[in-house]
């Protein structure tokens, strides 16, 4: 019985992990808390909806298109809104506020176009598989597969590709990056495009699984933030694993109590981490020097 919940948790966590990985890339490279990540997420889902229902594109190419457009969207957000603020000596509050404002604008535009109600992509019973006592739907399998593939791909790219090294270098060096001659603009563009793409993949999978409404973005961003902090901000892969763990914890909470305490569990985790181990669970303990 508990196994079913754990598997459900992993499948949900897979999506959290992807969104978190995306947010982590963006945060590490730019240090902006990208609330608008949720807007990109929601946009991707609605693009998929549009292509599938209005343009009669079949699901996989529709998703690919949605992901590509969402990646572009994320990139544009940075270029148009964050980058101009990054030039001024920024403490970050202005960027966070901008991000919030953008989020609000985008999701309400989506609501105006598509309506406030939940939309499902297609009706009918999902095909399921039985593995022992556990039942999984086809979409859930897709979620796990997508997670594994993208997680590994991202880790490999970060470690071995030139762009991955660039992203890691900019992330590690923060303010010094410019002085060191690193191509910050390129790193930002990559982080935003790739990170938004990951969120978009998660959004498409979620859309197919449970449907969409304009307000799904914020909870996802918040869970992604918790996953990111929980795993340890500096360690990219940790955010993905954090997502999985949160997915499992949420489902175990549902199993033990009821669905209504799910969100609370996530935020209790966040508070516990912030208070006891702000550097995250998977980061090696570094000596913190006071100013």
């Amino acid at each position: 019985m508990v196994l079913q919940f754990i598997v459900n948790g992993l499948c949900a966590g897979a999506l959290f992990g992807l969104a978190a990985l995306g947010l982590s890339l963006i945060y590490n490279v730019t240090r902006v808390f990208h609330f608008a990540h949720g807007a990109v997420y929601a946009t991707a889902a609605y693009l998929l909806l549009f292509f599938v229902t209005k343009a009669s594109v079949s699901i996989v190419p529709a998703a690919a298109l949605a992901v590509a457009l969402a990646a572009l969207f994320g990139l544009l957000i940075d270029k148009a809104f964050y980058l101009p603020l990054a030039d001024k000596k920024s403490g970050g509050t202005a960027s966070i506020l901008t991000s919030l404002g953008l989020y609000i604008v985008v999701i309400n535009i989506l609501a105006l176009i598509f309506g406030n109600e939940t939309k499902i992509l297609r009706s009918g019973i999902e095909k399921t598989f039985e593995i022992g006592t556990v039942i999984v739907t086809r979409v859930q399998v897709a979620q796990l597969v997508a997670f594994l593939v993208l997680f590994l791909a991202t880790e490999l790219l970060l470690k071995f590709s030139r762009y991955g090294r660039l992203i890691r270098a900019v992330s590690d060096n923060g303010n010094l990056a410019e002085a060191l001659g690193l191509e910050i603009k390129k790193a930002r563009a990559l982080a935003f495009a790739y990170g938004s793409g990951l969120a978009a993949v998660a959004a498409c999978l979620a859309a197919v699984d449970v449907g969409i409404d304009p307000y799904i973005g914020m909870p996802i961003t918040l869970i992604a933030a918790v996953a990111m902090i929980f795993g340890g901000i500096r360690v990219f892969g940790a955010a993905a694993l954090g997502g999985l763990i949160i997915g499992v914890v949420q489902n175990l909470v549902v199993w033990q109590t009821s669905a209504k305490w799910q969100a609370a569990a996530t935020f209790v985790i966040l508070l516990a981490v912030l208070i006891f181990k702000p550097q995250g669970l998977l980061t090696p303990k570094k000596r913190l020097e006071e100013s």
């Binding site: 000596r287 020097e289 006071e290 100013s291």
Partner: protein
């Protein structure tokens, strides 16, 4: 006045402060000199309470300083000027200096409501004194200007005005003449001598400018690699071979 005994501090693999013992006499100007990375600013940070030493004790006016939170160290009577001159940018020059006084009854949230008379009086005297010091350093006409609008040199003068208004007895000055044009250095040194002689304060400075040391320091400690290598009167210390080597080797 201030006594450090066997202070040790390690950062990761680096021993920043190695068994350092220092003694700063009341109403005198002591100096810490040494090459960059010798541990001087670290010592200041340890005294101020921003960094906890790994070992050793500190006594301020015979009372232990160890373990006190930084704000308490400051309110106990140890003031600080930072290497990267700090001012409250968005506040006016006047407000910057007004903040230097401790024990302001208006700084409690209840103060303005339950002791408004006391607060008013305190603030009036505070403002008078602050204006005096601002005028003294030549910033009188900038009283209501936001500190961030001032030039670097002017901001340094602002810090000195704040220092003069400061009620604290021991002042740690980290490179007070750095970045200041030579014409103003004389003024600043005169200010420092003034607060020691007339206000009876104790000053410890970190300096790289040897002529400054020769002119105002009463006692000098030379540090290198986290250790105190030699100490004594300025003339003697500066004549020491090790000191000469460290500075010409730079």
């Amino acid at each position: 006045m201030l006594e450090l005994n066997n202070i040790n501090k390690r950062f990761g693999g680096l021993k920043a402060v190695d068994d350092v013992s220092l003694y700063f006499t009341e109403r005198k100007i002591s100096a810490l000199i040494g090459p960059n990375g010798a541990g001087k600013t670290t010592i200041f940070n340890i005294i101020s309470g921003f960094i906890r030493p790994d070992g050793g004790t500190m006594l301020f006016r015979s009372k232990p300083l160890d373990g006190l939170p930084a704000w308490k160290v400051a309110s106990t009577g140890i003031g600080r000027m930072f290497q990267d001159n700090r001012v409250f940018g968005k506040l006016t020059c006047l407000e910057n200096v007004l903040l230097a006084k401790n024990g302001n009854p208006g700084e409690s949230p209840l103060g303005p409501f339950f002791s408004s008379g006391k607060v008013r009086d305190f603030e009036r005297r505070n403002a008078e004194e602050a204006s005096k010091w601002l005028a003294f350093v030549g910033l009188g006409d900038k009283k209501y200007a936001p500190a961030e609008n001032l030039s670097y040199g002017q901001q340094k003068l602002l810090s000195f005005a704040r220092l003069m208004a400061d009620g604290r007895e021991l002042l740690l000055l980290d490179e007070p003449t750095a970045g200041v044009n030579p014409a103003m250095i004389g003024e600043i040194l005169a200010l420092i001598k003034k607060i020691v002689k007339e206000a009876g304060k104790t000053v410890v400075i970190i300096e790289h400018n040897m002529s400054v040391i020769l002119e105002i320091a009463d006692f000098v400690y030379f540090m290198d690699d986290g250790r105190v290598e030699t100490f004594g009167a300025p003339k003697d210390v500066l004549a020491d071979e090790r000191v000469r080597e460290a500075y010409t080797g730079l």
